[in-house]
Structure formats: structure tokens, C-alpha cells
């Protein structure tokens, strides 16, 4: 049986399990509880790196036919710290190819996304390789939205061999990773055509 927040509060108050030391009605307390549970911590900062390039193309398809590397489906939602969707965000992301090299001359594996009213973004890419000067595979993010502090961060993959299967314990092996929250689980999905690594990375922006 599932109870709504309001029902739980009413039952608790009825049986004396909850004493409301407030003059607010139960509905307002329930709404405040909901709000508190929605709250999110801002996504930790992680270096911009030297290979950011302005004016990336608006595309969700970074993987071209014939590209080598494990296909990667990367998606998420842009929230603010109250837990509300940020409807007018712009998400720029860039990464190496699967050999660990950035495209400096052009815009391969670079994209500008506009998630829209639902805040949802997604791209089809490949698992990035290990850049020789970095420890871990990663994807760079720059997220901007009116009224919000620009968010610069990087996504890492729990399957990276560097973590030895335990990113919570070993994330410090890459000195740039400031929080294990940036290391995301990788789900492998397969069908008759291909095997795809699926990663969800929600982004939480601070309000100005």
C-alpha cells in the first residue's frame, strides 16, 4: 500500500506518532516535505580542460557510421537545486574519440544541446578513450541557463579499469575527480544489431 505525503501526515497525527508544532495546515506541511525531498545538491565542478571549443554544432548524433569504439547512449535531465527542471538550459559537451584524441580542427564529438521545457538531453556517441595526459575516460560538460551559475564538470564511467570496479573507493586515482558523484554506472544493453553502453547523468545547476 502506498500513501501520499498528506495521508502519511494525517495518519501519523491521528495516532499521535507525529506532533505538529506548527499552525500550518497538513497540506502545507506535506507540500514543504515534498519540496525538501526534491532538493538536489549541485553537480560538483570539474576542470574545463584545454580543449573547449566555442560554436559546437547542434546535434545529438556524435557517432558517425563506421566509427570505432563501443556505442554510448548518454542522457540526463538538467535540474536546479530546488529539484525543478531548468527549461532553458544549453548543454555543451565534448570528448575524445575512442582512441583518446580530441578534434581541435573540427567538431567531431562536440555538441551543443538545448534540452527544452522538459530539461532532457541525450546524445549518441562512443565511449571516449583514455587521453594520454589524463587518467580516466571522461566527457566534458558546460551547462548554461539564464539565472543560473554556469556549470563546468566532467562525467566519468564506473566501468573505467582505473577504478578496479570500486569507484567510490578509487575515484581519487584521477586527481581531477573531486567527487564520486561524477562517476556514473554504465548499463550494457544489446539487441540483434549492437551492444550499447547506456549512461544517465543528471545535471544540477546552482541558482544565481
Amino acid at each position: 500500500m502506498n500513501f501520499t505525503r498528506r495521508e502519511l501526515l494525517e495518519r501519523g497525527a491521528t495516532f499521535g506518532a507525529i506532533t505538529l508544532a506548527t499552525s500550518l495546515p497538513l497540506s502545507a506541511v506535506a507540500a514543504a516535505w515534498d519540496e525538501a525531498e526534491k532538493k538536489r545538491q549541485p553537480t560538483p565542478f570539474c576542470e574545463l580542460g584545454p580543449f573547449y571549443k566555442r560554436e559546437a554544432p547542434q546535434t545529438t548524433q556524435l557517432r558517425a557510421p563506421g566509427d570505432s569504439g563501443m556505442p554510448l547512449a548518454l542522457a540526463g535531465v538538467v535540474y536546479d537545486v530546488r529539484g525543478d527542471v531548468v527549461p532553458d538550459a544549453k548543454v555543451e559537451l565534448w570528448q575524445t574519440d575512442n582512441l583518446g584524441q580530441y578534434d581541435i580542427e573540427g567538431y567531431r564529438y562536440r555538441a551543443l544541446l538545448e534540452p527544452g521545457a522538459k530539461g532532457v538531453y541525450s546524445v549518441e556517441s562512443v565511449m571516449p578513450g583514455h587521453h594520454p595526459s589524463r587518467v580516466c575516460q571522461h566527457v566534458h560538460y558546460l551547462v548554461t541557463a539564464p539565472g543560473h551559475k554556469p556549470l563546468i564538470t566532467q562525467l566519468y564511467f564506473a566501468t573505467d579499469p582505473v577504478f578496479d570496479g570500486d569507484p567510490d573507493k578509487n575515484y581519487h586515482r584521477d586527481p581531477l575527480i573531486t567527487s564520486p558523484e561524477l562517476v556514473r554506472p554504465v548499463m550494457i544493453k544489446s539487441d540483434a544489431k549492437q551492444v550499447v553502453a547506456v549512461v544517465n547523468f543528471d545535471l544540477v545547476m546552482e541558482t544565481l
Binding site: F45, E47, L48, F51, K53, R54, Q101, I104, L142
Partner: protein, 287 residues
């Protein structure tokens, strides 16, 4: 050498070097005598450090956003202050050694006046990230600063108003330098080439040829005012740093040869210095 060290920085008059040890401590070492003293202990892990142009001060920035100013030649007391909540990624002294630009990561740049208790004089905004390159004109009247947002901005140092900007770069700028006559600003970065900008109008004047596969990390003018020493880092992170001297008048370049990868590079007394170390000894070569 007081320790195993990957990076060193010679002082502007060449009488000292800041030696950054592998354990993250920082030492001042006299040149050539080798007398040494620890100025930052290992646990504080400095994230940036720079000598003042007059050689009297060494400024260091830290991951907790603090900055420390240490006397290099006498027992003047150190100055220590909290500049920001973010890690300090860059420090730059103005030519008169009396002001310090502090560049926190992911936060706007700051200009501090150092006389007495350090005082914040200006705040330099960016669209996102922080400042990554900066230079002040020889007469001290103009500051140019490049941000993570790829924009190079001009500031009048009398009013701290932004006067102009150059937004023609798609990639980041990591090095800025004025020519000695103050008429041009040289910019270099991820696009692998020096771009000369007109200091008066912020317009692009010309671009030198690219060094494919490498980005520019530093530009310093040599004493003749005609040549720029340029340090390149490999895009792929596989090759050691290399340095090239560009003649600005002819656009000809000459690669500098090193017996082993340099652990420092800079202009001292108008001449190009590079360092190598075998772990015990610091060897400095003058171009």
C-alpha cells in the same frame, strides 16, 4: 636541489629559483650557490606561484582560495589572505610589483593592491569559468585578460572599466604578452599559433604559422623586442614540452634544442633560460 622536482621558476633577476617538489612543498633556492629554504610546506600544496618583477616577493595561491605573499630577500613578514572560495589557478604581478592579479578556477578574476593590508581593487568577470591568461602593458595602463569563455578583454587600470574585447577565438587562449613598445598583444593557446592583436583597437593584426598538434602554454618577449619565446605542450599529451623562438618581423621560427625535457622556461634579463634537472642538480641554460 632540496628535493625531486618536476617544475621550477627562475626569479626575474636570475638570483633565485622557486622549486616545486614532488611532495608539493615549495623551496626558494639561490642561484648558483644553492642555499635553500622551504617557503611552503608539502601539506599546503600550492596551486600557483609567481615572483614579483622586482624579485622581492614570491606569491603563492592555494586550493582553499588563499594567497600568500612571501619576502624573498629579507625578513619582511608574509601577507596571507583569503581571496576566494575556489582554488587559485593563476597569479600575475603588475610591472610595478604593487598589484597582483589572482585567478581562481571557475570564478571571476581579482586585482589586489598589495601595500599594507592587501585590498581588492577590481573584479574581472567572465561568462563562465575563470581567467586563464593575462598581461599588463609596459606603462601599466592597460590590462588584457583571457577567460575560459575564449574572450580576451581590455581593462583601463585607472578605472577598471572594460574598454574593448576580442572574441575572434573559438579555442581558449593560455598566454598573453605585450610587445615592449606596448603596441601589440600576442595571444596564443589551443589554436597552436601566435595571434598579434592591436593593443589600441583590439583588432587582429596577423597570425603566425601553426605548430600542428601542440598548444601554446606561454609566450615571453626576449630583450631585443623582436623575438618571442613560445612554449608548446603536446595536444595528445605524449610528447614533452618544446619551445620555439619566433621572429615577429620575419615570422621565421627557430626551435630550441634540449638535451632532456625542460623543467622550466622563461626570460631572465631579456634572455631565454631553460632548466633541466637530474633530481639532484638544477642546470640552467641561457639561449
Amino acid at each position: 636541489m632540496p628535493c625531486e622536482s618536476r617544475y621550477q621558476a627562475p626569479s626575474p633577476n636570475g638570483t633565485q629559483a622557486a622549486v616545486h617538489c614532488k611532495d608539493h612543498s615549495l623551496y626558494l633556492v639561490s642561484i648558483p650557490g644553492g642555499a635553500q629554504r622551504e617557503v611552503v610546506p608539502a601539506e599546503r600544496r600550492p596551486s600557483a606561484y609567481v615572483f614579483s618583477p622586482d624579485g622581492r616577493w614570491l606569491a603563492a595561491g592555494f586550493p582553499d582560495g588563499t594567497v600568500e605573499l612571501m619576502a624573498t630577500q629579507d625578513n619582511a613578514p608574509a601577507k596571507h589572505w583569503k581571496a576566494d572560495s575556489h582554488r587559485i589557478d593563476g597569479l600575475y604581478f603588475f610591472p610595478n610589483s604593487e598589484m597582483l592579479l589572482v585567478a581562481p578556477v571557475d570564478s571571476r578574476g581579482q586585482v589586489w593592491e598589495l601595500a599594507g593590508t592587501p585590498t581588492l581593487r577590481a573584479s574581472l568577470p567572465v561568462d563562465f569559468g575563470g581567467l586563464v591568461a593575462y598581461a599588463v602593458s609596459p606603462d601599466g595602463k592597460l590590462l588584457v585578460a583571457a577567460g575560459d569563455d575564449t574572450v580576451v578583454r581590455w581593462y583601463d587600470t585607472a578605472t577598471w572599466q572594460k574598454t574593448q574585447e576580442y572574441s575572434g577565438f573559438l579555442l581558449e587562449t593560455f598566454a598573453l604578452a605585450f610587445t615592449p613598445d606596448g603596441k601589440q598583444v600576442l595571444a596564443g593557446g589551443a589554436d597552436s599559433r601566435i595571434t598579434a592583436l592591436d593593443a589600441a583597437t583590439a583588432k587582429q593584426l596577423r597570425q603566425l604559422p601553426t605548430e600542428p598538434g601542440a598548444y601554446i602554454a606561454d609566450i615571453q618577449m626576449l630583450g631585443d623586442g623582436q623575438r618571442a619565446a613560445t612554449l608548446y605542450l603536446d595536444d595528445a599529451g605524449e610528447k614533452p614540452p618544446h619551445a620555439v623562438i619566433w621572429n615577429l618581423a620575419t615570422a621565421h621560427s627557430a626551435a630550441l634544442k634540449f638535451d632532456s625535457p625542460p623543467s622550466c622556461a622563461g626570460v631572465v634579463g631579456g634572455k631565454f633560460w631553460s632548466c633541466t634537472t637530474d633530481g639532484k642538480t638544477l642546470t640552467i641554460v641561457e639561449e
